[in-house]
Subunit: 386 residues, 2 copies
């Protein structure tokens, strides 16, 4: 056993009362030893040297065959292939990567922070893009520090990086750009020269939502957005969402009512209540939060306000999540899976030599569901509300 094994004394914080659950059965494991080194060796027994020997050719030739190089005689290729099949050879990716200087892997830096919207779907989308291109996919969840990012780039574990939770001025972006390490963003900076990204068009999305509500006759439309410090720090969605909202309100001659709150149910409920205390005549709310928007529903329920009869609600959210709400939540559709997929696709294209910079800013799509209606005052003219 190596020294590193015994010494990296990682301690695991037990979640819940798992200690009680565990029925641990002591005993020996499957036949072959589980020592690290021995494991690695036993697993990857047959190498290209073995193939070469068995096929009566050199390792170079085997390597060429493996990589479909043109300069190998058809007869030779077939013989080598046959031996490969027969011996069940499969390449040692680690060695390939070291020798080739490429990893055929991409990494998604997925921040812990509570900022994000619809986070998980990004992962699956990006992973799918990787697997579609026969790339391996790394997921790194811990929020990354400057030295860690440096280490990641030099580690050669990945050929490129997908960045999320982008700020208008983002140190990660500056750094990667400076050292010339390939990356793409889900989100975008203030200046995106030479960097590919896919981002939600929050300004446009909010504009659509506000306009739609205004057309229905709503006059007091509030925005539930991120806390002030997040805005100050230049978090893209926070800045673009709030600014877009303010601008649209100005354009339409509506009051801008902004309620900052962090992305937890407790905070959102409190913000909602405060909002209604101050603005009892509020008839619509737009939430930049994701599934936590359920807290808005509950807060309204708690005040015996009905959706959409008394208050209309719109959020930025995925279809799958929006449909779990009752009434189903009208939304600026957030196609997180597709965003992840596109980001992965762009990055890999770049790694494969494409030199076009892609800026993808899909036109936001407002999906109307039953959480939106004309305000009550108008309805009263035509309809009877209990």
């Amino acid at each position: 056993m190596r020294d590193a094994c015994s010494k990296c004394g990682v301690t695991f914080t037990p979640l819940l009362d798992i200690a009680f659950w565990t029925a641990t059965i002591f005993g020996s494991v499957t036949g072959s030893g589980f020592g690290h080194k021995s494991m690695a060796l036993s697993t990857s027994a047959v190498t290209i040297a073995d193939i070469a020997r068995a096929a009566g050719v050199s390792v170079s030739t085997v390597s060429r065959t493996l990589n479909n190089k043109p300069d190998v005689a058809e007869a030779t290729r077939q013989r080598v292939q046959a031996v490969i099949e027969e011996l069940g050879f499969t390449p040692h990716a680690q060695a390939q990567r070291l020798a080739a200087g490429r990893s055929r892997a991409i990494a998604l830096l997925f921040p812990d922070a509570q900022l994000s919207l619809m986070r998980e779907e990004f992962i699956l989308g990006a992973a799918k893009a990787a697997s579609d291109a026969s790339y391996t996919f790394y997921l790194m969840t811990s929020s990354i520090t400057r030295p860690q990012l440096t280490a990641l780039c030099r580690s050669a574990l990945t050929d490129g990086i997908i960045l999320m939770e982008i700020h208008l001025r983002d140190w990660r972006v500056s750094y990667l750009k400076r050292i010339g390490f390939p990356f793409v963003m889900i989100g975008r900076c203030a200046n995106n020269n030479g960097i590919s990204f896919i981002d939600m068009d929050f300004e446009q999305g909010i504009a659509q939502a506000v306009e739609h509500l205004a057309n229905l006759g709503h006059h007091k439309i509030a925005l539930l957005t991120f806390p002030d410090d997040v805005y100050q720090r230049g978090y893209g969605p926070a800045v673009r969402g709030r600014d877009g909202y303010a601008q649209t309100c100005r354009r339409l001659g509506l009051p801008a009512i902004i309620a900052p709150a962090s992305d937890t149910q407790a905070q959102l409920a409190e913000a909602t209540n405060r909002l209604l205390d101050r603005h009892p005549d509020l008839t619509a709310m737009i939430s930049m939060h994701g599934d936590t928007t359920i807290a808005v529903y509950r807060a309204l329920e708690g005040r015996s306000l009905r959706i959409p009869e008394d208050v209309s609600v719109i959020a930025f959210i995925t279809r799958r999540t929006a449909e779990l709400f009752t009434p189903p939540l009208a939304a600026i559709d957030f196609p997180a899976y597709d965003f992840g997929y596109q980001a992965g696709r762009m990055l890999i294209a770049r790694l494969q030599g494409a030199n076009a910079v892609e800026h993808i800013l899909p036109p936001p799509k407002l999906i109307l569901r039953q959480s939106v209606a004309a305000p009550r005052t108008l309805l009263r003219n035509g309809l009877t509300i209990s």
Copy 2:
């Protein structure tokens, strides 16, 4: 540019109408060349040889320092450390892994199939376990074939594997066991000798749910479960859920009413309707499905049946999802994140030399929420229902 780059002609199926979104800006990229090889080289400029030279020691000594080996003089260690800092050295993980014969990485095999419950949270949990132990985390999403699994094991990309969607007899399990490749399961087989797992106790969970409902006075309690072919194929949750249900019903003298349906809203809605056509006197339903259980809500709504007054509903679902339902969905809590975390933790413990086999089967916890009540007939005696 390598041949592989130009030849692996991957085609990307465009999602949605992204072609229209794209505002592609052609032009050159950041300063440094984006060619693969040159990239790798420029990124990882300084090696331990450079450190050795600058510090006036051998590479072995640098390596020892790096790995915190005991056999290096304190003075030397400090000098080497200083040089490392100064030159900003960071190890080339690829090379480390090849030389060490270990990857310090784990992989989660995440099936595409639609069988799964609460899938995404598993990923984040497992990824967290990896990052807590300074392991890298691979996510592989494509459903894996036999040769692909072989390739993965031999690739040396990962030291161990987390398997999901386990069947009672699972070829992946047999294979990995046979070749002695380290792995753990989220789920379990019929025979789990020598294999660590964490699994939901579906029998117990269902038993709890049925008993609770029976105690409330429900007599006709249906189970919405997986399709027959999934059951036949021996998918763990399908088999254990259905069998556990049947057994509990027998024990309590209740009729077993089983409605198979695949995990889509359409199928579930149809199954619910069929169920109610045949059993108009049904007063409770237990769903083995996850967020798609919303279709049950909608189907009941469509028949003007109220939850929980007319029909009680219980599902296997995560807290976060259950709370989005209205009324909030009572559930056998599915702590998917914790399951992922525990699986990762167990696997890494094993890789680090622990030789205890862990079988974790947490006692299921029924979390009551407003989707459950006594059946109407009983309520009538005491309460007035509109």
